[in-house]
Symmetry: D2
Subunit: 472 residues, 4 copies
C-alpha cells in the first residue's frame, strides 16, 4: 500500500488535540457515567484515546485510560470500578507527543500533597524550554506531552503556595501558550484557561453539581444547564463550598478564541463564547454566497464539516440544497484502506457521490478548508465522473498560510496548498470551475457575533501573543 | 437500567436481515479485499456479523466470520489468508434465528459434491415446514437460520440433478418466500432471486470480473459497472465460460420489490430496480408536502433515514431546509446506554437538538416511519424543550398495519402504534402539532418510477403471494 | 523460522484426541462449574479447544466452546450463563478433522426430537463411508469430525426408535471403531462405549448426582466416588429415575482398552479398567530394569510422561533416582519458538538439563516412546554436552510399527523411526549408549493387572477388529 | 466465593519480586528475541507482568510491557518492532507497589541526558524517605514502585557526574536496601548490585555479546557462557569498548545473598554464588533426613519446590522416593477457583494425591517452607483421606519468624504460623504425625558451599544491615 498517499487522504483535515471534562457531584450522580456521557459528546475533539479519573471521599484515586473511542475503551464493569464524587475525563488526538498509551490522559501523579490528576487541551509554546529547565534539576519525564510539563510546574509551585489553585495561578506565569485545563485534587475540581483563552472551556450546572467541559454540547447531552465560559486567565475552584474564582494578573480582558473552533472543530450544537456554532457556520456560508455568487443548480457540503455552511450558501443564494455525497460511517477499529491501485478505480471508499443528485447539474460544493488539496481534488474528480457539469468550490475559511502554535496541527508551510499556489492555481489543481475562500474581513464581521476576540493567526500570521520565529 | 425501555428506543426501526456480495475474478483482483470493500458498502444492511468465504483454483474453501462490523471482524492478516479466485460475503442483522456466531454467514458446508458456501438475504415462509420434513428423514441442524434449510434443499436436489445451478432451480419449487442468494461452488459463483424478487440483487462487472451485490452502491464503491438486476426467479451462473442464466417456471414477470428498500433500507446512492433511492425518497418528501402542506419556518429530517425526504419536502414547499439534530456517530463496540433515570434528564445521547436552529420556529420534521412511536415522542419532546413553537411530523411511508413475511422485522401487530391508534391519537401521543403519513396511493404513484411491481403488504395487508394466516 | 523442524519437535508425541465429561445433577450442584473442574482435570487429553453444553429443566440448551485451554476459554461470567441441571463437556486435540472452531465440541444440533448435544472421544474406521452414505441422500456436513457422523446416525435411528438411548444402541450396528460418547438430551445424560471399549469411560457419583468421565482423576478432583467403568457396548442412561443400562448385541465380553492409555495418555492418578496408571507405569519401569539392566549412577525420566516409569526403574535397579531436567511450564498462549539457528545454540527452551545433576555421571533416561526420534536425539545431545558420561535410553513401550485406527495419531509408517531402522540403528541415531524397549511380552504380563483385554495394534499390527488395509 | 480463603491458599508461598535481564549485542543477534528467551527462563521470578525495552544504534528507545506471562505478552509482531542492539527485560510479581500496568517494568524515562531504561529486582528500605525528599523539591511520581525512586536518584546524580555509571555509583550512597539493577542508556548496558548483594545478578557471554541476568538458567537457555556474578557494590558497564567495572566504597567484601533464593526462589538448574541450586536443595533434604529421621515407606516432595529436597531426603534415608501428587499445570489466564463449599469436597483442584502411591503407606512429605500453614494442612488432610497411614512433614528451611526487608513478601508477623505457635502446635494444626524444620545451624553448614555470606533474617531476625524497627 502506498501509505504516504493514504496518510495524506486520511489526514487532510486539521486535528484538535483534545476535549476535557470534569464533574463535581453534590447530588449522588454516578460521576464516572456522567463523565462517560460527557466525553462521548466531546468525541469529535479526539478519537485516539480516552480516559477517566475519579477520586472518592476517602481521597483514593482511580484512573482508566486506553487507546480507542470512548465507547470502545469503557465497559460497564470498568465504569463501575470508577467510584467517587469527583471525576475528570479526556479525549485525545495524537497530533503531538506521539500516539501511545503513555501519552494518553488524564495524567494522574503523586506529588508532595498526595495525588493530582490533569486533563488538558492546548499547546505550550515554551514546553521544550520548561522541560529542559526541570531536567537540568534532575527531573525525569515518562511522557512526551505538555501535560507532564504542566504537572511539574504545579508540583513545583505547590511547594511555595498553600493551595493547588494558587499553584495553578502561579504556574500561569511560566506557561506560555494555549491551555484549557481540568484538574482534580482529592477535594477539588479546578478549571483553568490560559490568559488569552485560546481554547474553549465552560461551566455547567446540574442540580447542585458542577461540570467543566470543553464545549456546551456535553452539557446538553447531560441535560445540564450552561452557566458561563471560564474566562481567560481564570482559575475556577469547585469544592464543598461551591464555586469560586481566581484571576491571573496576566489575564487578558477578552478571550482570543481560536476562530477555527467555529469553522470546524466544535460541534454545531455547541455555543462557543456566546455564539452558536451552527449559526456561525451558516453565516459563513451566507457570506460566501454574497462574495462568490454563481449560477448553479445545486448546493451541498462535504460531510460533515461543510454541511452547515452549505445550508447558509443555499439559503442566501436561493439555489437548491441537496446531498452530494453518502458518507460511510461504519468505521470499526481497523478499517483496511484500499491500496493505491485499488483507489485509482474506486475513488473513495468512505465518501460516495450520489450520482442521481449531481448528474447533469452545475453544483456548488462547500468545504471548511483546504490543507493540501488532495482530498478535494479527488472528490471533484468523482463528481465530474458522476456527471456534474460544473463544480464550484466554496471554502468557509480563508486560505491557510501560517502555522498554528495553539493546539491544532496546521502542517508545515511547505505542504500548505495556499502557500505554494495562487487561488487560481489552486482552482486548477483541484479541478474546480471556480473557487472562493471566505475573506479575513468576512471572518472579522462574522466574529462580531461572539463575546470575545479571536485568533486567526493561521490565516494572517498575526497572533495575539509573541510566537517563535517562523521559518519561511 | 430499564433494559426494556432502552430496547424500545434502540430498536424502534425496522431491520433488514442481510446484505450479500459475490466476486468472480478473471483479472487477478484480490477477491477477499474486493469483497471486504463490497461488504463495507453494504454495512447498512446488517451490523451484527460479517463473513467472507473464498475458494481457490485448487477447490480449497476458506471462510472467516465473526460478530461485529466488517471493519472490526477483518484485519489485513485475516484477509491475506483468504486467497482464491471466487469469494462471497455477508453482513447480517439478527432479526431472526438468534444472535450468535453459529448463525452468521456465509454458511459453508460439505455435501455430496464437495463444498458449497451460501450467503442469503430474505425470509422463507415455509422454513419450519421444510425443516420438519428434513428432520423427519433424519436431518440435523446446527443453526436456526433459513440458510441451512436452503442448503439442505440444495443438497437434496443436487443428488437428482447434474449441476448446482439446476439444484438451485429445482429448490425454487420448494422454497416459499423471499430470498436473494449468492452461492459458491469450487468453480462457480451463482446468484439467485426468488420468483417474486422481494429482495434486491444486482450484477456488476469490473474489467472481465463479475460481481453480485445486494445493492449498486457496492459496485460504485469498487468502481465497477452496473450490468443489470438479477430477475425474479432467475439463476445466474458465473464460471470460466462467463455468465449465463436459467429461469424458474415459477418466475413472475415483474419483481415485487419490497417498497421499504426505497423508503428506508437501501443506501441513497443505490439504484434499486432502475430507480435512484435518493430520488425516490425526495419524491416521497415532495408528495408529503403536496398532501400535507403546513405553514412553517424550517424543514429537517431525522438523521439519517429522514434526510432525503426532508429535502424533497423543503423543495416542494419552499420552506427553508436545515439541520434540526446533531447525530453522534462515534459508536464503538460497547456503547453504554444511559439509565432510564439518566435519560429522563438528557433526552437522547445520540441525537442532540440544535437549539439555535429550532428555537422560536415552527418546524416540519420528516421521518421514514413510525413503529412504536417511542423514539418519535422523545424527539418531539426535545424539540419543544429546545423552543420549537410547533412540530409538524411527516412520515414518508404509510402507517404500519400488517406483518412482513419477507425479511424485515415489522414487530407483531400488538405493538404497532398504527394498529392501536387512529392517526389523530398517534399525533397526540407523539406530541406533534400535525401528522401526515404518505398514502398508499402516493406510494403507488411514486413506485411507477421503478421498472417493476412492489410489495407494500406491511401497509395494506395485501401480499404478492399467499402468506400464513395473520392472527388479528 | 524453520517451521517444519519446529513442528517435529513440538509434535514428537502422540496425541489423544479428546476427553469427555458429563454431569447429571440431583443435588443442586452448579453443573457448569462441576464440568469446568472435570474438564480441567482432563485437560491432558486435549489442549486445543474446550466446550461445555448445558440443558435446563425447561429443555433450553446452551453451549459455549472455543479454541484454548479450559482455563482460557471459560470465565466466571460465561459459566454463569450456562445454567441447567445436566451438562456435558469436551476437551480436544486436533489430530484429525482440522484445527478450528467449527470442529470443536460438544456438538449441539437440532433434530426431529428437539436438541441433542454430543461429546466424543475415539475414531471411526468407517466414517468416510457413512458420510458418503448420508451425503448421497442429501445430507450436509458443517464439520469434518466424526462427531457429526455419529449425530447423523443418531438422528436417523431416532426416527425409527422410541428413545435416544435406543437410537444410540441401533447406531452401534453401523459405527465401526473406537468411541466413548457422552450425550445430552433435554432430560437425559447418556454414556456409550463402542463394543470393543477402546477408549475409557467411567461412571462416578457425588451425593445423588451422576458423573460420566473419560478418567477417574476428574472424579477425584471433584471429590466424587468412582462407581464403575462403562462396559464395552454398553449404553448408560441417567435421568430422573436414576441410572439404567442397555447392552449392544455386538458388545464384546471384555474391553480391548488402548494400552497406550496406561503408557502415556492417562493421568497417573487415574485408574483405567481397575489398574492404577501410576502403578502400571512403575511396573513398566521395573520390567525395563529387569530386561535391560545397566551399570549407572542416576536414573531419571523425561518430564512428565517418563517420570513414573523412571521411578520404577530406579526402585528395581537400586540406582539413585534424580531430576535430569527442568521443564519450563509457563506456556502462555503464544509461545514463540526459537529459530533453527537460535536452537542450534540453545538446545531446548522448554527442557533444560540440570548440569550439576548429570555431570560426570552415567545416566539412565526413561521415556514413554519414540516416534520420530528427533526430540530424543536433541535431549541426549544436551545431556552429553552437560557432561553426562553415558546415556542409557529406556523406553516404556515397544517400538511403534503400525498405525492406530482407534483415536491416536501414530503418524504414517514412513516417518516412524522403528519402521525405518533396527534398534541398534535407532540407538546410534539418537546418540544413546544403550537402548531398550519394553517388549510386547512384557506388556502382556503387566496388562494382567487390568480387568480387561487390550489393544496393542500399534506395536503388533494385530487389532481386536478388522481394520482397513495398511499400505506397507 | 470466599475470596479471602482462596487468597490464602493461592498466596501461601513467598513471592520474589522480579527477574531482570540485559543483552548487549556485538554479533548481530536479535536482542528482543534473546531477551524474550531470557525472560522466559526467568519467568518463575515473576508472572504478573513482563516487559522488554530496546535501544537502536540511532539512540531510539522502544519499550513494550503488559500484564501477563512472557509468552502471553509478546507476539512475533511485537518482537519485530523491538529492534536495536541493546535490550533489557523484566518479569514482575506485584508484592509491592500495586498490581497494574503503570507499575510494570522496564521503566523508560527521559532525563537531562536523553532516555534511560531500568529493570530492577529488590526492595529499598528508604524509598519512602527518598520519595518524600524528591517531592519536597517538586517532583512528581507516576508509579508507586521503587524503580521510579532509583530513576530520580540517577537523574539527580547524573547532573553532577559525567556518566550514567558514575551516577549509579553515586546513587549507591543514598539507596538503602536490596537492588539488582539493569540499566540501558543509548550506548550502554549497565548492571549494578547493592553493596550487600542481597539479590543475584550474573554476567554471561555469547560469542562477543554480553548478557546480564538474575539467574544462570537464562544463560543456559540461550547457550551462553557464564562469566561471573556481579559483585556486591559493583557497577558493570558494557559498551562498544567491552566490559569494565566500578566499585562503590560501600561495597561489602562478600555478598549477603538471600538464602531463600536457594531454598525456593531460584530455578534448580541455576547456580547462585558458585553453588548449584539443585545440589543445595538436595543437601537440605539430606540434612533433614539426618536431623529428623523417621521410619517410613515413601518420601515425596510437594511440587515443585519440595521435589529436590525430597530427593535428598530419600537418598540419605534410604526410603523409597515416589510421587505423592499430580500437579495440574494447565494454568490459563483466568483459572476459576472452586468456592469454599466446592473445595470442602474436592480438596485441591491443582494438586491431586496419587491414591495408589500413598494408600497404606507411612509417608515423608518435604516442602520448602510454612507461611500460614493453610495449604499444608489441606494437603495432609487429603493424603490421610487417600489412605496414608502416617504423614511426616519435613521443611527444608527454618521457621519464618521475622519480616524480610529485601525483596520478598514474608507477610506480617501476626499471620506467620511459626510466630503464633510452637513446633508441636504447628504439627498438630497441620495434622502431621511429625514435623521437622531445617535448623539455622544446618543452613549455616550448607551455605558454606557458596562463595559468599548470606542473609537469613527472616529466620533469625538478624540482618546484614540496619533495618527499620520491627513492631512485635
Amino acid at each position: 500500500m502506498n501509505t504516504e498517499e493514504t496518510m495524506l487522504i486520511q489526514n487532510d483535515k486539521l486535528h484538535e488535540e483534545c476535549g476535557v471534562f470534569g464533574f463535581y457531584d453534590n447530588d449522588g450522580f454516578d460521576v464516572a457515567h456522567m463523565t462517560y456521557f460527557g466525553l462521548y459528546a466531546l468525541q469529535h475533539r479526539g478519537q485516539e484515546s480516552a480516559g477517566i479519573a475519579v477520586v472518592g471521599e476517602n481521597g483514593e484515586f482511580n484512573c482508566y485510560k486506553n487507546m480507542g473511542l470512548v465507547s470502545d475503551v469503557f465497559t460497564e464493569s470498568i465504569l463501575k470500578e470508577l467510584k467517587g464524587n469527583i471525576a475528570i475525563g479526556h479525549v485525545r488526538d495524537s497530533t503531538k507527543g506521539g500516539s501511545n498509551r503513555e501519552n494518553s490522559q488524564p495524567l494522574a501523579t503523586r506529588y508532595v500533597k498526595g495525588t493530582l490528576a490533569l486533563a488538558y487541551n492546548g499547546n505550550l509554546i515554551n514546553s521544550a524550554k520548561l522541560r529542559e529547565k526541570f531536567e537540568k534539576n534532575g527531573a525525569i519525564f515518562h511522557t512526551t506531552v505538555d501535560s507532564e510539563v504542566i504537572m511539574y510546574e504545579l508540583a513545583q509551585e505547590r511547594i511555595k503556595t498553600h493551595s493547588i489553585e494558587n499553584a495553578m495561578l502561579a504556574a500561569m506565569n511560566d506557561l506560555e501558550g494555549a491551555y484549557s485545563v481540568v484538574l482534580m485534587s482529592p477535594r477539588k475540581l479546578i478549571g483553568a484557561r490560559d490568559p488569552h483563552g485560546f481554547r474553549p472551556l465552560c461551566i455547567g450546572k446540574m442540580k447542585n453539581s458542577y461540570i467543566l467541559s470543553s464545549e456546551t454540547c456535553a452539557l446538553e447531552n447531560l441535560g445540564a444547564e450552561f452557566v458561563r465560559d471560564v474566562e481567560p486567565g481564570e482559575v475556577v475552584v469547585i469544592d464543598k463550598d461551591g464555586l469560586r474564582s481566581l484571576k491571573s494578573p496576566r489575564a487578558q480582558k477578552r478571550a482570543s478564541i481560536c476562530i477555527f473552533e467555529h469553522v470546524y472543530f466544535a460541534r454545531p450544537d455547541s455555543e462557543i463564547q456566546g455564539a452558536s456554532v451552527y449559526e456561525m457556520r451558516k453565516l459563513m456560508g451566507r457570506r460566501l454566497a454574497k462574495d462568490f455568487p454563481v449560477e448553479a443548480d445545486l448546493v451541498f457540503g462535504v460531510p460533515d464539516s461543510g454541511l452547515c455552511a452549505a445550508l447558509g450558501y443555499a439559503e442566501e443564494s436561493g439555489i437548491a440544497y441537496g446531498d452530494g455525497f453518502i458518507k460511510n460511517r461504519y468505521i470499526g477499529r481497523t478499517f483496511i484502506q484500499p491500496t493505491q491501485e485499488q483507489r485509482e478505480q474506486a475513488v473513495n471508499i468512505k465518501l460516495n457521490v450520489v450520482k442521481k443528485a449531481v448528474r447533469g447539474k452545475r453544483v456548488v460544493m462547500v468545504d471548511d478548508s483546504i490543507v493540501r488539496g488532495t482530498t478535494c481534488a479527488n472528490i471533484i474528480k468523482a463528481l465530474k465522473a458522476a456527471g456534474a457539469l460544473e463544480v464550484h468550490l466554496r471554502i468557509s475559511s480563508p486560505p491557510f498560510l501560517w502555522p498554528c502554535f495553539f493546539g491544532t496541527d496546521v502542517p508545515s508551510r511547505d505542504v500548505l496548498m495556499a502557500v505554494k499556489y495562487s487561488i487560481e492555481e489552486m482552482r486548477e489543481k483541484v479541478g474546480a470551475d471556480s473557487l472562493g475562500f471566505l475573506s479575513v474581513e468576512a471572518i472579522e464581521d462574522i466574529a462580531k457575533n461572539m463575546d470575545c476576540d479571536y485568533c486567526d493567526g493561521c490565516f494572517t500570521g498575526k497572533y495575539p501573543m509573541d510566537v517563535p520565529k517562523i521559518s519561511e
